[in-house]
C-alpha cells in the first residue's frame, strides 16, 4: 500500500487518519457497552424480583477487597492516560514506564480478584460446585443466592477476561514502545488500547456498587 512516512495512502492528513482509527475503536466499544449491557439487564431484572436474597448474598462478599481493587484499577487508568500523554509528547522512555506501571496495577487487580474467588470457593459460594449458602438457609434462599453468585461470577469473570486481554495488549505495546515505535505522529495503538483500558475501568465502576455496595446498610 502506498505510504508516506506514517501517513497511509487512503488518508489525506495524519489528523484524519487518527480520527478514523479512534472512531473505529469507539464503535467497537459501543458494541462492548451492549455486550456487558445484557448482563447488567439480567442483574437488574433478577435483583428486582429477589431483592432480599440478593442483599443477603451480596453481604457475604468482602467489601475491603472490592474497594482496594477499585482504587487499584482507577490508578491503572491514570497511568494508562499518562502513557498516552507521553506518546503524544514523544517522551519515548516514559511511554514504556507508564505502560509497565499499568500492567503491574492490572496484574494486582487480577491477583486480588483471585483471592476473592478463592474465598468464595472455600465458602461453597461457587454456583454448581457443592453450592450451599449459610447453614439453615431455606431452599428458596439457597436457589436465589446461587442466582446472585452466578451473576457475580459471570459479570466479574467477563470483566476479568477483558483485563487479561488488556494485559496481553499492554505486553505487546511495551514491546513496541521499547523499539521506539510510538511518536507524536503515530501513537494510535497506545491511544486505542488506552480507550479499551478505560472502558474496562468504567465497567468496574458500575460493578463495584452493584455487587458489593448497595445492600451494605441495615
Amino acid at each position: 500500500m502506498h505510504r508516506t512516512g506514517e501517513l497511509y495512502g487512503q488518508f489525506k492528513t495524519i489528523e484524519q487518519q487518527r480520527e478514523t482509527s479512534t472512531l473505529g475503536m469507539w464503535i467497537f466499544l459501543a458494541t462492548e457497552v451492549l455486550f456487558f449491557g445484557g448482563l447488567f439487564t439480567t442483574y437488574t431484572v433478577n435483583r428486582a424480583i429477589h431483592p432480599v436474597e440478593f442483599a443477603e448474598a451480596s453481604k457475604t462478599i468482602k467489601l475491603s477487597l472490592g474497594a482496594v481493587n477499585t482504587v487499584v484499577l482507577i490508578a491503572s487508568s491514570l497511568t494508562m492516560a499518562m502513557a498516552v500523554w507521553s506518546s503524544q509528547l514523544g517522551k519515548k522512555k516514559l511511554i514504556t514506564v507508564f505502560l509497565i506501571a499499568t500492567l503491574i496495577l492490572g496484574s494486582v487487580f487480577l491477583g486480588i480478584k483471585g483471592i476473592e474467588y478463592h474465598e468464595k470457593f472455600v465458602e461453597h459460594h461457587v454456583p454448581g460446585l457443592n453450592f450451599s449458602f449459610e447453614p439453615g438457609a431455606s431452599v428458596d434462599m439457597n436457589a436465589h443466592a446461587q442466582l446472585f453468585f452466578s451473576l457475580y461470577f459471570g459479570m466479574t469473570g467477563l470483566h476479568a477476561l477483558h483485563m487479561i486481554i488488556g494485559a496481553g495488549l499492554l505486553i505487546w505495546l511495551i514491546k513496541e514502545s521499547l523499539k521506539g515505535r510510538f511518536t507524536p505522529l503515530y501513537n494510535t495503538p497506545v491511544e486505542n488500547v488506552g480507550l479499551y483500558w478505560h472502558f474496562v475501568d468504567i465497567v468496574w465502576i458500575y460493578l463495584f456498587p452493584l455487587l458489593y455496595l448497595i445492600d451494605r446498610h441495615k
Partner: protein, 98 residues
Amino acid sequence: MSEHIVPLKVYFTVFSALMICTALTVFAAELDLNAYFSGLNIIVALVIASFKASLVVLYFMHLRYSPKRTQLVIAASVFWLAIMLLMTMSDYISRPWS
C-alpha cells in the same frame, strides 16, 4: 489542527476526584438511606458511579476534546443501553401475575 493534549494537572485532578467519589460511595453504602426514601441507597450509588464514569469518559478518554461524530457514537451506545434496560424493566415491573 493537531490532537488536543490534556495537561497533566487535569489528569491528577480527575484522579483525585475519582478517589474521593470512591470513598464517598463506600461511606454512603454504610448508611441506611432507604429509611428516608425507599431505594435511595441504590440511587445514590448509581449517581456517584455515573459521575465517576463521566469523568473517565470526558477526560481520560478525551471525549471532551473529540470530534462531534465520536461523541455521537457514545451517545448512541448509551441510548441503546437505555432502550434495553427500560423496555425490559417496563415489562417485568408491570406483570401483576408474577
